[in-house]
């Protein structure tokens, strides 16, 4: 029981990170029907931006307050990653709009290869680790030598994720921007006829997706304390798995899928074998899709002749 609660806490933390990345996949898929393969690498680049912003603040400027430093790092990472993803969309995906379905996919795979190798060349191939931050923890349960703990870092991940998801939810459901976005998702031509600037809306979708990926990247860096150029692929694939699991195109689905994948992964590592945790996550994906092809919350695809 103790172990279960502990793994639940760890799983939700990991799942929040996956959920934040998954939103980027699901939004882009919803609006232009494209699998943005480079999204995992955008997440990795954002973690590097966070790392460097953090180093600038601590070693050059010498900020004392960790909370303030984290806040600034988060803002910088979100802003710069958003700019990067805007550029990627303009360069690699916009010229292919309306082209056949595989072209943007291949372009995205090329972008993904480019980004991870760019970081390898620019920042070096070795793992970068930062000193541990916020190292305290609460002891929730203490029974028979096994303590269930909730660390400050986990609280930070939960709080930041919850706050940003709330902001994001507000943007999508209450603002003109979100309305334009949902309109483009349903029918681009009709939205354009009604005066929605489709290209701009798609750009903003990429920008929001990147900003959320940057939150995930910063949290990942702070939580694990280490990042390397190759760390984009696996979280990226798992987040995509989460998006598909939740029903691709569905925003709450992405978050639920992310949490599920995070939980499956940590529970599997605790009770079965840590080596096969990724196999478990991917098998769940295959099983869910075979029995429920539209995902948990997705709309079933109706095929018209």
């Amino acid at each position: 029981m103790d172990i279960f609660v502990q793994q639940l806490i760890n799983g939700i933390t990991l799942g929040s990170i996956y959920g934040l990345i998954a939103i980027g996949y699901t939004m882009v898929f919803g609006i232009i029907g494209m699998v943005n393969f480079a999204h995992g690498d955008v997440f990795m680049v954002s973690a590097f931006i966070a790392l460097i912003a953090f180093l600038v603040l601590t070693t050059w400027i010498g900020i004392g307050s960790v909370t303030l430093a984290l806040f600034i790092v988060l803002i910088v990472a979100m802003a710069l990653t958003a700019v990067l993803n805007w550029g990627i969309e303009r360069l690699a995906y916009r010229p292919l709009r309306g082209s056949f379905r595989l072209a943007p996919l291949i372009s995205a795979i090329g972008m993904s290869i480019f980004l991870s190798n760019f970081i390898q060349v620019a920042q070096g191939p070795r793992n970068k680790s930062i000193p541990p931050l916020l190292s305290g923890e609460f002891v929730l349960m203490d029974g028979g030598g096994y303590q269930v703990t909730l660390s400050y870092k986990q609280i930070m991940v939960w709080v930041v994720t919850a706050v940003l998801l709330a902001c994001f939810w507000w943007v999508v459901s209450r603002t003109a921007l979100g309305r334009a976005q949902r309109a483009c998702e349903q029918d681009q031509k009709m939205a354009a006829l009604l005066g929605v600037d489709v290209d701009r809306t798609i750009s903003i979708t990429f920008v929001i997706g990147a900003a959320l990926a940057a939150v995930a990247g910063t949290m990942y860096l702070m939580y694990y304390g280490v990042i390397s150029f190759a760390d984009g692929f696996t979280p990226g694939v798992k987040a995509f798995t989460a998006a598909v699991l939740g029903g691709i195109g569905s925003l709450p689905g992405a978050v639920i899928g992310g949490l599920l994948i995070g939980l499956v992964e940590t529970l599997w590592s605790a009770y079965f074998s840590i080596d096969y945790k990724d196999v478990a996550a991917f098998s769940i994906l295959a099983i869910v899709l075979i029995f429920l092809p539209q995902g948990l919350l997705g709309r079933p695809e109706v095929e018209k002749v």
């Binding site: 898929f29 379905r101 080596d275």
Partner: protein
């Protein structure tokens, strides 16, 4: 227009500045105590931002107007040009096959015994492996229209099947080659079965997941696969029982030649060439059989296909199985050539490279796949050779570092330039009276 160009250049300069200041201008370096500190590289930053601004100006002042002019031009029938293109289309394949057959001797003649190892092994064999993989995947993606992002799984099955069976039981390469193909085809059916109901990107992601699962099993099933360490000392193929080594029974000694590793290289080159040509030939013949026509019908319209009484289950499964079989052949050749395999060789990157070759070449076009493999694999291998760049950028400049960087960028640029792939016409398998090339843009990409 100049104003617009200047505005675009300013925007791109701003984007480049925002991204490059932290990632290029600053570098997180580990010092001796293992702590991170920051180094600055402002001159490099200035050069790169200037390059981005220059690139944007060139694009909006030269390339974009040129593309627009070309797009506006009314396509007119130029009989001479059309005839030339048709003649090229007819004569290029036999010429290309002839060239690859004489290539090892050409390399020997031009660069000598020592120099040609590089050309035959690094270039010839490496490119032909990818040509073969491209042909194999072309059956699944190009003909049947099923997007398979886990093709590397079958390559891995073939490689491990050969490595384990050859080491444990001592079977020869040519006995195991068909066996590895059958095993891979079997896995193609096993992995194909659950995804029969899936379509489009769901199919892509599940095949990707299967590819990753196979790789993770290879990593973790240590008693059989030896995990990350991989399998070494895999027996090499022999020339009718004559090994390629420096001993008295070796190939060179038996034929009275001076020992050189080049003989094995040439032998392996012809094996993979034969395998690639076999794949191409089988594909061409299969397209004319009912099953090949069913694949293409499935790609064009699955519902119409089902309405006409085609069994989509067997059609999809045969596509997966035959595609996987050729992947298995290529895998066992890879294991025999390297003598060492590890899960590192079967990452998603490989699947992505093969899919990229198929799509960049123009899906369904054999020549396109071969041209794309030569361009992408040969091009990146060529970067290893560019010592000239060292003279320009200084001693520490290592062009090989930039191989994959340029590979990724080239994928993006080729897609923007030619979204339907390099070869834009297809040969129809059924025609009325006269065989005419079909424009690639008329060919559907499939639902799966």
């Amino acid at each position: 227009m100049a104003l617009r160009a200047a505005r675009d250049a300013a925007i791109w300069g701003g984007v480049a500045l925002a991204v490059f200041v932290p990632l290029i201008g600053l570098q997180a370096v580990q010092d001796i105590r293992g702590e991170l500190r920051l180094d600055t590289r402002w001159p490099l930053l200035v050069v790169l931002v200037a390059m981005v601004v220059g690139g944007s100006l060139v694009n909006s002042l030269l390339i974009a107007p040129w593309r627009e002019r070309r797009g506006r031009r009314v396509p007119h029938e130029n009989a001479a040009l059309a005839r030339a293109a048709a003649a090229f289309g007819r004569w290029f394949p036999p010429f290309a096959v002839g060239f690859v057959i004489v290539f090892p001797f050409l390399a020997l003649w031009l660069t000598g015994m020592q120099g040609s190892v590089k050309w035959i092994d690094n270039f010839g064999i490496q490119i032909l492996i990818y040509v073969m993989l491209g042909f194999g995947l072309n059956i699944v993606v190009g003909l049947a229209g099923l997007l398979d992002l886990g093709y590397v799984a079958f390559y891995a099955v073939g490689a491990y099947a050969y490595a384990l069976l050859a080491k444990e039981f001592g079977f020869s390469f040519f006995t195991l080659l068909p066996l590895a193909g059958i095993l891979a085809a079997f896995w193609g059916i096993i992995l194909g079965f659950p995804v029969l109901r899936l379509r489009g990107d769901y199919l892509a992601i599940v095949t990707l997941a299967f590819g990753e699962i196979i790789r993770l099993v290879l990593i973790n099933w240590v008693p059989v696969t030896n995990g990350y360490a991989g399998i070494s000392g895999i027996p090499r193929p022999t020339f009718f029982g004559i090994p390629f080594n420096a001993s008295d029974e070796g190939f060179a000694a038996v034929f009275g030649l001076e020992f050189s590793p080049i003989y094995r290289g040439i032998f392996l080159y012809y094996i993979i060439l034969a395998l690639a040509l076999l794949t191409a030939f089988v594909t061409v013949r299969l397209r004319r059989l009912p099953i090949g026509r069913a694949w293409e019908a499935l790609r064009e319209d699955e519902i119409a296909c089902r309405s006409l009484g085609i069994d989509t289950t067997t059609t999809k499964l045969t596509a997966f199985a035959i595609g996987a079989m050729f992947g298995g052949f290529a895998g066992s050749f890879f294991a025999a050539r390297q003598g060492f395999i590890s899960p590192e060789s079967f990452t998603f990157m490989e699947s992505a490279t093969i899919v990229a070759i198929v799509v960049l070449g123009g899906m369904g076009s054999q020549i396109g796949v071969a041209v794309a493999a030569v361009a992408m694999i040969g091009g990146t291998e060529l970067l290893r050779e560019l010592d000239v760049l060292k003279e320009v950028f200084g001693r520490e400049f290592d062009p090989t570092q930039y191989r994959m960087l340029l590979f990724g960028f080239a994928m993006v640029l080729i897609m923007i330039w030619k979204p339907r792939g390099l070869i834009s016409s297809r040969a129809p398998s059924v025609f009325l009276k006269e065989r005419k090339a079909v424009a690639g843009s008329l060919v559907k990409e499939g639902h799966g």
